[in-house]
């Protein structure tokens, strides 16, 4: 790792730890290995969104050419969001791609991701299925996103309706993850989800 990158990361790490947002438990970073190439980030689901109360874990990989190239960030926690892949956690956000600037920091990246959770861009989707649902059936999207946040990101306030449907499919012999994905893709229509799982 180059000197600039190491110096920057150590400094940015301190910045995140000391910042106001960390005090409010909104963002957090941890070192994964000693040479700072890989970090673990955590952001809280923003209030008044389906992600509220959830804790989302991020994998942050620092490239050799940091800060001239952006860090590679991915959601480890499964999340239902138009700009984040529901399968891989890959993120579609301009500042992590061509709009990155060397003056940005880990703190700004984490805050931008938090902002992305609050304001999705369904016209520039990473996950087309989610984006379609977001635009065509906002209620189903909100239910799904909330349900995923509860199951994967430990958000409170259970939505028994969704869990019951997942259990219904699990009883039929499908795995829980597959059942949840099928139901989410089909806006919780049990019949369509079963059809999808059978095909």
């Amino acid at each position: 790792m180059s000197n600039i990158a190491a110096a920057r990361i150590q400094r940015e790490f301190k910045e995140v730890v000391k910042c106001d947002e960390a005090a409010k438990c909104a963002i957090k970073v941890e070192m994964v290995d000693s040479d700072c190439m890989e970090l673990r980030g955590e952001i809280a689901g923003p209030p008044d969104t389906p992600y509220e109360g959830g804790n989302f874990i991020l994998e942050i990989k620092i490239p050799e050419t940091y800060p001239f190239n952006p860090p590679k960030v991915r959601f480890v926690t499964k999340i239902w969001h138009p700009n984040i892949s529901s399968k891989t956690g890959a993120i579609c956000l301009d500042i992590l791609k061509d709009q990155w600037a060397a003056a940005m920091t880990l703190r700004t990246v984490l805050l931008s991701l938090q902002a992305l959770l609050a304001a999705a861009e369904p016209d520039d989707p990473q996950d087309a299925v989610v984006a379609k649902q977001y635009k065509e059936d906002p209620q189903a999207f909100e239910d799904t996103a909330r349900h995923w946040a509860q199951v994967y990101a430990q958000a409170p306030c259970n939505n028994p309706g969704c869990s019951a449907k997942v259990n219904q499919l699990v009883d039929m012999g499908f795995t829980e993850t597959a059942s949840r994905e099928a139901l989410s893709m089909h806006s919780w229509d049990v019949e369509k989800a079963v059809e999808y799982l059978m095909s």
Binding site: I4, A7, R8, R11, T65, P67, F68, N69, A101, A102, A103
Partner: protein, 467 residues
């Protein structure tokens, strides 16, 4: 008679520089002037005629510098800025001048030469007073920090690193931090040449020649250094009469599905009930769909229940072979059939052309044999090589007529095209036959056939080559 004269004269030129032309299969492509020597008006008649010149790297740089110089004088800006502006406009000066006259400020903002006016952020005025570079966080003296017009100050090392990363990523003028200084890089020069509308890089392996044409078009460009022939516009193999977009579509299609489609067409049918694609890899004609368990006859695709005891043969199919075509998937298969029809012909000619070198070797061998047997002199037999070169040229054009026909809409124009295509094909086969069987030094018949084939080729190109 005139035909004889032509071949006579081409023979003469062979005489002059025979080491150059001997066995050269691109004879016809390279030395157009030697063929057109006696009819100069051909330059304007020839639908394939394309004026071009080959430039070395130094010549290209000189040419670009000249353009930059002109633009910088007209616009009264520094040559560096003129270069950036020209590049954005694909080096078409008229477009740049017009844009410059219309709204100069926006032009400069868009090309990142000046920062956008009154940005919402607090105006930055000077370097940070503590002398710390905000990128590497190293302290240095204030006077060592540099900034562009946007007044974001960074240290020299960080600027350098930033440029290196951007150039590696192929971004040279896209970002605000990267305008003027970057031009010192060779990488920028390269991308400048690629964007100039009159220039085209020779795609030949390891070739550094740049071709220049006053009027760029999708015509055949020939590199004088490596003899590579390619389309000036898209740099693929020359593809007249097909257009650049069409040939791209065709090649993508061929890459995508020729093999799979071939196989599916030859070995599979769709289940008449659930439409799943079924491969019959043996056994009798009584099929049971693995998915919906429907029993049907492989030949007529009818229900097996009505077949009674004729286990191995289908009488319904014998009476009316069209019965199998009445399925709903007929359309898809028809489309596939159409594609395969054109693809087979395309592939066939392409294969023939790949064997070209061998054909030339064989002809040379035959000429040697004949000369050894005292059947004419070596010079007498050279016309065969000319004929083979012309044959290759005609075949090449014919090959590229198939994608054109495939994407053409049905109508009288397609009928005309296919008529001419068929005529060309027939003459080419004739010529091919005659070249293979030429036993005497009497070239009259063959020369006649060459003329007919070439005329057919030119007629087709004249009618259908987009101008």
């Amino acid at each position: 008679m005139s035909v004889d004269m032509n071949s006579q004269s081409s023979d003469d030129s062979d005489y002059d520089d025979d080491d150059d032309n001997e066995g050269d299969m691109y004879d016809y492509y390279d030395n157009d002037d030697h063929e057109d020597g006696d009819k100069p008006e051909n330059k304007y008649d020839d639908p394939e005629y394309f004026e071009q010149e080959s430039l070395s790297v130094e010549q290209v740089n000189a040419f670009l510098d000249e353009e930059v110089d002109k633009a910088s004088k007209t616009l009264k800006v520094s040559p560096t800025i003129a270069k950036v502006l020209l590049k954005v406009h694909n080096w078409v000066p008229s477009e740049l001048l017009q844009r410059n006259a219309e709204d100069k400020t926006n032009l400069l903002v868009e090309t990142h030469i000046i920062p956008p006016p009154c940005s919402k952020k607090a105006k930055l005025t000077g370097p940070p007073s503590n002398g710390m570079c905000p990128v590497c966080l190293q302290k240095t003296s204030v006077d060592k920090l540099n900034a562009l017009a946007c007044k974001h100050y960074f240290c020299k090392d960080c600027w350098t690193m930033h440029f290196c990363v951007l150039i590696e990523d192929g971004v040279s003028t896209g970002r605000s931090m990267s305008t003027s200084q970057i031009i010192i890089y060779q990488g920028f020069k390269l991308s400048s040449q690629q964007s100039h509308f009159q220039l085209s890089f020779c795609p030949g392996p390891g070739c550094d020649i740049v071709l220049k044409a006053e009027q760029p078009a999708a015509k055949r460009a020939i590199c004088t250094k490596c003899n590579n022939s390619f389309c000036f516009k898209c740099k693929l193999h020359y593809h007249a009469p097909t257009e650049c977009e069409v040939i791209k579509k065709w090649l993508t299609k061929c890459r995508d599905d020729s093999e799979t489609a071939n196989y599916i067409s030859a070995h599979t049918k769709d289940c008449p009930k659930c439409s799943v694609c079924i491969e019959k890899n043996g056994g009798c004609n009584h099929m049971q769909c693995y998915k919906c368990k429907h029993d049907f006859c492989w030949m007529c695709l009818g229900d097996w229940k009505n077949h009674g005891s004729e286990y191995y043969e289908c009488s319904r199919y014998k009476e009316n072979p069209n019965i199998a075509n009445e399925s709903v998937h007929v359309q898809a298969r028809e489309a596939l059939k159409k594609y395969l029809f054109y693809f087979e012909r395309w592939e066939n000619h392409s294969k023939s052309l790949r064997l070209e070198e061998e054909t030339f070797k064989k002809i040379n061998q035959r000429i040697e044999d004949k000369v050894m047997k005292n059947a004419g002199t070596w010079i007498d037999w050279q016309y065969l090589l000319d004929a083979a070169a012309l044959l290759a040229k005609c075949r090449y054009t014919l090959q590229y007529t198939y994608p054109y026909a495939y994407f053409m809409e049905a109508g009288p124009r397609k009928k005309l095209f296919e008529y001419q295509q068929a005529q060309l094909e027939a003459e080419i086969e004739n010529l091919s036959w005659k070249v293979e069987r030429a036993e005497t030094t009497d070239r009259g018949d063959l020369a006649n056939q060459m003329d007919i084939a070439e005329t057919r080729r030119l007629t087709l190109l004249k009618d259908f080559l987009p101008h």
